[in-house]
Structures are given as C-alpha cells and as structure tokens.
Subunit: 204 residues, 4 copies
Amino acid sequence: MTLKNNNKSLTQNKKQLKEEELFLAAYDLFLKNGIEKTSIDDITKNAKVAKGTFYLYFSDKYDILNKLILQKSNEIIREGLAKTNAFGSKNFKERTLFFIDYIINYLKDNVSLLKLINKNISWGLYRKAIMKPEAYNDVKKVLDIFVKNLTKSGMNEEEAEMTLFMIFELVGSICFTTIILKEPTDIESIKPILFKKILAMISV
Amino acid sequence: MTLKNNNKSLTQNKKQLKEEELFLAAYDLFLKNGIEKTSIDDITKNAKVAKGTFYLYFSDKYDILNKLILQKSNEIIREGLAKTNAFGSKNFKERTLFFIDYIINYLKDNVSLLKLINKNISWGLYRKAIMKPEAYNDVKKVLDIFVKNLTKSGMNEEEAEMTLFMIFELVGSICFTTIILKEPTDIESIKPILFKKILAMISV
Amino acid sequence: MTLKNNNKSLTQNKKQLKEEELFLAAYDLFLKNGIEKTSIDDITKNAKVAKGTFYLYFSDKYDILNKLILQKSNEIIREGLAKTNAFGSKNFKERTLFFIDYIINYLKDNVSLLKLINKNISWGLYRKAIMKPEAYNDVKKVLDIFVKNLTKSGMNEEEAEMTLFMIFELVGSICFTTIILKEPTDIESIKPILFKKILAMISV
Amino acid sequence: MTLKNNNKSLTQNKKQLKEEELFLAAYDLFLKNGIEKTSIDDITKNAKVAKGTFYLYFSDKYDILNKLILQKSNEIIREGLAKTNAFGSKNFKERTLFFIDYIINYLKDNVSLLKLINKNISWGLYRKAIMKPEAYNDVKKVLDIFVKNLTKSGMNEEEAEMTLFMIFELVGSICFTTIILKEPTDIESIKPILFKKILAMISV
DNA sequence: GATGAATGAGTCTTCATTCAT
DNA sequence: GATGAATGAAGACTCATTCAT
C-alpha cells in the first residue's frame, strides 16, 4: 500500500466518521425529542460538525431519517435472527413465533424507537437495494430459511416471500397501533391472537 | 319554537358551516398539494374564513388531519358495506373478500387519499369514541355481521373482533406500501396471496 | 324607596358584580401567570363573563392593571396603618419604622404581588384623585399623622408630604430590586441601613 | 499575524458590527416609538440585517432592552463622573450633589431615554458582572471615591456602598415618577428637598 | 347591558439553505 | 472537504376589537 493510499483511506475514514456522527446525533435526537422537533441545526450541533457538512452527506432531514429507519429495522431483524438461532428448537413454526416475539418485545421495550420506525419495520427486510451488503447477507438468510421451509410444504416461492413480507407488515402495524396509540387493546392481549393468525398464514 | 330559539339555531348552523368549510378546504388541499405543503393560511384562504377562525375549531394542522383521516376511512368502510350489501352473495367468505376488494380498489383509484389515510384505514373501524353517532351505527353493523359469522363457527367474540381489526391493519399497510412505495411488488400481484391469508385468518 | 329604584339598584349591583369579578379574575391571573401572559380572553373566561363585557368596564389590559396596582398598594398601606395603630408605641420614629417594616415584610411574603406593583407602591399614597373615597380617608390619616409629627419638629408642610412620598419611593424601589432582582444584596441585609436612612430623612 | 488570523478577526469584526447595528437600531426605535410599539421586525429592518440575525445575538426584545438599559445608565454615570471631575470643588457633599444634579438634568432633558431606563438607573452602578470591563473601571472610580469619603467620616464600608445604591434608587424613582407620571409634583419643586435628604443620607 | 363568534392585522420564531472564507 | 454566520421566506399563532343577536 502506498503512502498516497494511506492518506486516502485516512481521509475516507474521517469522512465516514462525520457521517457516522451525524447518524448517531440524529438518532439520539429523534428518539429524545421526536422527529418534528429535531432540526438540522440540532443534529449538526450534537454531532459537533458544521451545519453545511450535513448537506455533504444527506439531502434533508427525511433522507437521514429514512436511512435510520432502514438501519434500525434491519438491526432488529438481524438480532432477532441471532437470538432465534441461539434458541434451540428446530421446529419451523416455533422458530417463527420466537422470532416474531423477539421483535414485538424489542419494540415494546423501545417505544421511542417504535415511534421512529413507525409501521415500517418491514423496510429492514425487503429494501435490499439500499442496504449495506453485510446487512443484506444476514437478511437474506432469514428470507432463505423462511422460504425454504414454506416451499418444502408445497407453497410456491413467490407466495412464500410475500407471506414473510405480510407478516412483517402486520406485526409492525399492530405494534404501532397497540403500543403507541394504545388502541383498540394492548399488545399483550392481542399477541396470542396475532400468533394464531401468523400460524394460519404459514400453514399451507 | 320561539324567536330566540330560532336565532340560536341560526348561529349554531353558521358555526357548523364554518367548521365544515374548513374540513372541505383542508381535505382538498391535502389531496392536491400534500400535507406538508399545506399551511393553515392556505386552508383558511380556501375556506374563505379568517385565520383565527381555524383555531376556534382545531388546535393545529394535525388535529384537522386526524379528524379527516377518521372521517374518510369511515366513509370508505360505510360505502364498502353498502356495496357489499348490494352484492348478492350470502356467503360470508365471499362477502368478506368482496368488501376488502372494494376497499383496495378504492384506495388504488384514489392514491392521494391513500397518502392522507396512510396506514390508518382501521381508524374508521375502532375509534368509536371519536366518531359521529350516525357513522358509528353503520360501522357497528359491519362489526356485528363479521363477529356473528365468526362466532357461529366457534371463534370467541374477542378474537373475532381482533381478527377484523388485524385484517384492516394488514390491508391498510399492504395497500400503502405496494401502491405508494411500490415495494416489494404491485398490489395486483399480491392481492391473490393477500386474499388467501385473509381467508386463513377467518377460518377457525 | 320605590319599586323602580329597587330594580335600579339591583341592576347596579349586578353591574358592580361583573366589574368586581373581572378585577378578581385579572388579579388572580396576573399573579399566577404574569401580566404579559394574561390576555383579556383569559380574564373574561376566568370571570365567567363574555369577552365584550370587559370593554364595558375597562379600556384595555393596562387600564385594569393600573387600577389593580392602585387598589392593592392602597390596601397594603391601610393594613399597615391598622397594624401600626394596634402596635402600642406612641413614639413617632418607632411607629414609622414599624409601619415601613410591615410593608416590607408584606411584599417579601407576596413576591407575585410585588411583581405586579413593581416599584409603584407609592401610588397607594398620593393618587388621591383616582382612589375610592373610603380608601382615601384612611390614607389621609397616615398622611396627616405623619405631616403633623414632622411639622411639630419644625419641618414645613410641603417638605413633610414630600418626605413621606420619597420614603415610599425608596422603600418600593429597594424592595423590588433586592427581592425580585436579588441585587445587589438581600432585603434583610439592607434593611438596617434603610431604616437608618429613613430616620435621617425624618430628622429635621 | 498570519493570513488566517487576519481573516478570523475580519469575520469577528463583522460579527460585532451586526450586533452594534442592532443595538443602535433598537435604541433609536425604542426612543422614537416606545418599547411596545417596536417589533423585532422594525429593529432588523432599521439595522439593515436579516430578521434571523437578531436571534443570533439576542433571545428576544427584552434581552436587547435590558442590555441597552445597562449600557445607557452606565454611560450617564460615567459622563456624570467626568463632569464632576471637571467641576472644580473638592468638597465631597458639593461634588455629590453636583453629580446627582447632572444625572437629574440629563434625564429631564431626555424624557424618552428616561422612559427606557424606567426606574433602573442604578443598574449602571451595581451590575458589574454584566458590564464591559472598560465601563466597570470608570464606575469603580465613582464607587471608590464615594466609599472612601464616607468611611473617612466613620461609616463602615458596606453601609457606604449601600448608601450610594439607595441614593440611585431614590433618584431614579423620583425622576421617573415626577417627570414621566408628573405626580405628585414636578422635579424642580422636589429637587431641593431631595438634595436635603441625600445630604442627610451621607451625613454620619 | 351582555354575549361570544368572527376577524385579520400583527408578531414572533424557526430553519433549510447558501456561500465566502 | 469543512465551516458557521447570515439569510429571509415561510408559517404558526395570538389577541384586541367588533358587532349582530
């Protein structure tokens, strides 16, 4: 590696550092004060970066917000996968419910994050194009295992994929409505019924 | 009725008129220009009402927006019910799919309205407390028929109610994501699969 | 008294009642929320009176405020006089300091009222023209005793009156600055020095 | 000095210029139109500065107002000191009255400024913490001379300082009430009595 | 006299965006 | 690339005042 390359990668690191600090600051403020009450000024101040620097990395507040939703929903899914793998069972239905349960509990325990993600937890699943490669590799595993299990039972591949997508849309939507809006009932009351419906959806 | 009473109701009518005009103007502008690009100034100008008048009826833009979402989602549900009644079939599953299909097509044909309602079509169903009585009476019919049919098959009442709620959350969410975000596929491709899942959800 | 007169005085009472309720509501709100943060709307709502009614009695917020300052500063002075009379001493200097001490303690214990009166406690003393007759009679007593005592020692009458006025201006000013602005020291530290100066001012 | 430093101080100068222009514009408008009738919009327009710039330097109208009161009261005191020094007498009492007389006349001749300062002329004396260093050095001289003269006659230092503070509170209050409210008499009539009281206050 | 819905001028305040350094 | 002072358009919101009933 030449000296020049070294310098380049240092600059590169510095660059990534600024972007990362902006992400961290924005995430922190969105959770703490809400999206509407967070300005770009707040973000750059917290990131200890000049205001103009924000525009070198993001087009506006909603740009960084969407990227954060994607990142965070993705993170939750990957952690859910890891926990599910650590969980012993080989039974597909059990594993599926364990995975969903992990996500629900995570959102329930992080209400501010749930507000941020809104009903968009499924973004972490299907927005492959925008995801970082390392993130997508993990997500692809979730998808593949899921699809494989369903196709084994005779479901066609497209339906299998869409089934996972629908489950995420349903779970995300139900979590937001019951946990944030607290209507029409609480998440714990609805969870057994939700699990029943998810099982119905994956039974061919 | 005395003269005084007449006067009173005149003033009262005038009052309701202003509120109604504000609703109409806001709805119009939200659809045409979007929520963010509509200011309270715009709304009052279009309603031909003074700016201060807005604050006599609503606390801010999101107050009138939420009330509109409730109204409109409610309207769609009521129309869906009427159409379903006009549709001959006595078969519960057929009727359910017809009803859902009506709503999906309605939203597909009114993309701006779908943006307004976002993923909140279920509001028209369960926010009884905030609905006008005449609206709730119609909604109650949807609910009752649905619940009666499911309990007949042995489902308990709570689960029956929650099932309808979940179907709405699922349908609303899927419509928004596929029609507005155009991901991960289009509504027509996913519809048959969605119908299958709905049938699975209402089969005990 | 004729029936007509009876009716008249009833109406008169009702009228005075509204004015009185406006005074009470305004006083309450000024103390609780401050002058700037109190609107005429707030006042009429708290007084349970229509907004237009305010303008039948007062020209604007500062009109009712000034009348309140006069009333309240006057009340304090009258109470101070009563307490001083109850206090045994016949010694003029002792009585004067007792009287001033009462006022200082009163203001110290009613910081919100002090903010309302600002540095205008002397209004309760010399704005004879605007005072109610019964109030002025009491105030006149304070003035007369004070002047009599000073003229006895050889001071001329004009100077005697102006001396009392100056003492009030000084006391009011010092109270506001030390109690509200908390500068340059606290009221208890400065009080002995203030008393010394007051004694110097009334010594011929 | 490097080029970079030059640039820095240029920007810094420009910054101070904007603040200074805001001060000048606000002062001008407060005197001409009064405090209530001056809006931040007016101030920035007169200062030929964007509206947002105001908020870079001041939090609101009362922030700039208070800073102006401090500045102006301070200026008057410093000018009074200069004139008193130019005035020949070495006699402390004569010098004190000359100094007070200068201030009274100044306020009498600048009624608008008196309205601005209200009864707060003493701010220019004791709010050391907020004053600019060069201003405080001059004020400290007034204080020191005054205190030295009183302690020479046996008064303790604290009382001496508080005596000066009280004289300012008294003079400021009397000026405002007699000159602006024109009650209970005019400044010229009360001045000889006021001087008598001031002499009494500084006689041990 | 009393009411209170309606008014709309007026003001504050925010904030994304620019650009000279 | 990075900075941060400056901008000014945009929008929210208030509130004294009016006037028909």
